[in-house]
Amino acid sequence: MSAKENLTRIAADQIKVRHHPAGTVAVVGNPNSGKSTLFNRFTGLRQKTGNYPGVTVERHSGIARADNAAVELMDLPGMHALSAYSIEERIAVDVVLGRMPGIDRPTGIVAVVDATRLYQGLYLLQQLLELDLPVLVALTMTDAAKAGGLSIDLEALQQHLCGVTVCPVVATTGQGMTALRDALMQLPQQAPAKPPEFWPRLATEVQQLAADLPASMTRTEIERALIDGSGALETHVIGELGDGGHERLQQARQRLFGDIPPLAEEARHRYDWVRKLLPDVQRQAPVLTTWKTRLAAWVNRPVPGTAGLFLVMAVVFQAVFAWATPLMDTIDAGTAMLSALVMENMPAGALASLISDGIIAGVGSVIIFLPQILILFLFIIVLEDSGYLARAAYLMDRAMRSVGLSGQSIIPMISSFACAVPAIMATRVIPNRRDRIATILAAPFMTCSARLPIYALLIAAFVPHTDIGFVNLQGLVLFGLYMLGIVAGLLTTLMLRKTALHGPKPAFALMLPEFRMPNARTVLMQLRGRATVFLRRAGTVIFAVAVCVWALAYYPQSDGVASDLLEERAVAAISLTGNQLEETYARLDNEAAAAQLEQSWLGRAGKFVEPVFTPLGWDWKVSAAVIAGFPAREVVIAVMGTVYAVGDSADDATLSERLRAATRADGSLIFTLPMVFGLLIFYAFCMQCAATLAVIRRETNSLRWPVFAWVYMTSLGYIGALLVYQLGSL
């Protein structure tokens, strides 16, 4: 680079020239082909995340920039073929064909092809070449191919693909990215790719139909209408063909496919082309077995594989609890310190109480669970990216079948131990609607990370920390609660599959990706995304609820209570001195705080519903906390913290100590063992999460299922708690 060029470049950098994107390029490829890693490499943190209209499938887009050009990239869900099978594939196909409302047809395609899986990759690529768009091939996993003794002849490949540019890359290390980026910047100006001929008769039929169709109709659209049949595209083609359109389509089908299913014939012809091409473009050298193939073989052997799965789960849960503790303690101490600081330095009154007891305590009680959630998400992301979760689906298929589901439901189920919301979204890989809904309704039963705070608090406060053999009693109770969630979820599915969701047994077929070391960058980007979502919830919904609850507990301020307190303190000051006086002051303050809370809005609401919960052994404070927890169950801890801490002078007493000391008017303990276990069961079953209900509504596209889930789970929680308390108190 000459000095002059260098100067221009520096000048350009300094004034930050922003080139307008020259076009929108869709990143298309098989699942697990390294598509998202590539997309992240190009767009970095300049990504936009939204939703496709009408569905909750995330839409990722971003701008890829070079020195003097820019291109907008869209990362589409992974797909195997243009004959869509799942909802995610349907979306990818609609976007590629320009049939997604509100999204323009892309101006180019980056086809991501996994070098180790050319067989499937070329099938999709052949279809993409028919789109009448410029296509660029990013050949990923070239390092893995090399390690596996697979050599690919790029020239031969480009020749077979009629001259389409093929860029070999290693997306994880960035090797080959410069060449790919340069080719990408040129892509929108390139001529459309020429499709290789694979079935002349199909091409002829399509041409004949195209002659009577508007020029805007692409070859792919006509092909899909012919082959996939039924659906909007076929109706559209028939409409454009005018009178006799339906018959023409039928006749063309009869000539092409006879009585054989069109999709089967298409697959046969396309794979014939792929199989003829493969020996020319790739050569497999004999290689020694690698650690990956040995690991895969071992993991898939029935007994060690299944045992290994349980071991992995055990390690994950152990990590969530053991590793998060130091961090949680730090956050806890920090919040308490901040709260005390506010109380000392601000004049006593509504504002100090709001900041200390409402805002700091409320937000703190949510942030404290961030370490656990991050660790859990980290494990799930790593397991998913390494290819292990697909193995888990394979291993568990048989067991899941006994409750009327397939192995594919295991991935959403495992994810819902972190949070039911992403888990319900993950059910999109399940093609059948009945199987999908059954999985969606089972997912909220799994112990999500928002239930953990309540479990952790109640277990730490009321279950003795004793060892029974190797295991700790507290850990055992927690394990029991996890199992309770799993059993209840699976029984629910079983019941639904026998009744409302009765239907044929779910099918199961799954590609099992190779084991691979997850890419740290991709893992961290995903983790960052999920942490942001969690904190956004903590910062908005939970924060809002915490402040509302504080206000409900603080107002109306009773003049009577305040003046009574002053009066009683004055009386005490006459007769008592020193320590005795201090103790009496503290007792009087507590009593006044309790009286104030009791006549607050929250206290009144708690009392109003108390009769409903009396059979469960709850007082109005617990009832009030439960009411406040219906929009988001993680709020319950914040509410309990507020309910038991507002105006309380004993700042150093922990919440659990306060719960243990809580009594009724007659002096009897509220938190007896049967009541605590009932409360735990209530939280195990009860549907207290507005976000989950909203996502069920969107994913099932009906009101029926969220309403059913809420009524069913809440009644189950109530009945469970009732039985445990009543039987336990006998």
Binding site: D272, A297, P302, G305, Y394, D397, F508, A509, L510, L512
Partner: protein, 78 residues
């Protein structure tokens, strides 16, 4: 002989597919078509589903679908 009854360590070629079932058609789109070379990798606990390897990829399916794929053994391959 069908995909249901492959022996470990031997290679086979798919010779005919009974393709009426939509799931079978999907498996064909995934590459299980006549002419494809395939071998058995593993059997999950309880004897189902099965894992196969074809052209460097692993795919798992259940016996109920495996029986729609007729295969014949490939000679002279260890």
């Amino acid at each position: 002989m069908t995909l249901e009854s492959l022996q470990h360590g031997k290679r086979y070629v798919i010779v005919a597919v009974a393709c009426a079932d939509p799931m079978v058609q999907r498996l064909m789109v995934l590459g299980l078509v006549e002419g494809a070379e395939i071998e058995l990798v593993s059997i999950a606990i309880g004897g189902d589903p099965l894992e196969f390897r074809l052209y460097g990829m692993s795919i798992s399916l259940r016996r109920e679908h495996a029986r729609f794929f007729a295969v014949s053994p490939l000679a002279n391959v260890s």
